[in-house]
Symmetry: C2
């Protein structure tokens, strides 16, 4: 079973990396970019076919390792 | 207009960061994880309302800056 976990910064948390990308895009001549915020994505391959168990395991993984829940939000999507 | 760009490693490209996360999840007692691959996500706020123009600009951004197209794939999703 495939799953995707997306970890993004919470609103209000400064993102200097995103700001740098925004500046770089402008200097490359790509117009119309108002803001950029960078996050992380984890494509995870899971054993077993129990979606509920997989979701619980991935939420535990996010809380323990993948996301810093003080400053980041996470979203778990279970695929086929 | 909001857009999300997802950049992931191509199949066959080694991902030591993903391997390290996989090992860490196992040592934290999270079972059933077969593989992890890490990618990047960019949440971009764009000026204007022309979806086609936005998509073209973001594809240019990916080719020039956001993705290394030798080893990475990218996907552009235009939101509301």
């Amino acid at each position: 079973m495939k799953a995707r976990v997306t970890v993004t910064l919470k609103n209000g948390v400064l993102d200097p990396q995103g700001k740098a990308i925004e500046g770089a895009l402008k200097s490359l001549g790509i117009d119309g970019v108002d803001s950029v915020r960078q996050g992380k994505v984890f494509d995870i391959e899971l054993a077993g076919a129990d979606k509920a168990a997989a979701e619980a395991a991935l939420k535990a993984a996010c809380e323990k390792l993948l996301a810093n829940t003080v400053i980041e939000n996470y979203r778990v999507e279970i695929g086929a």
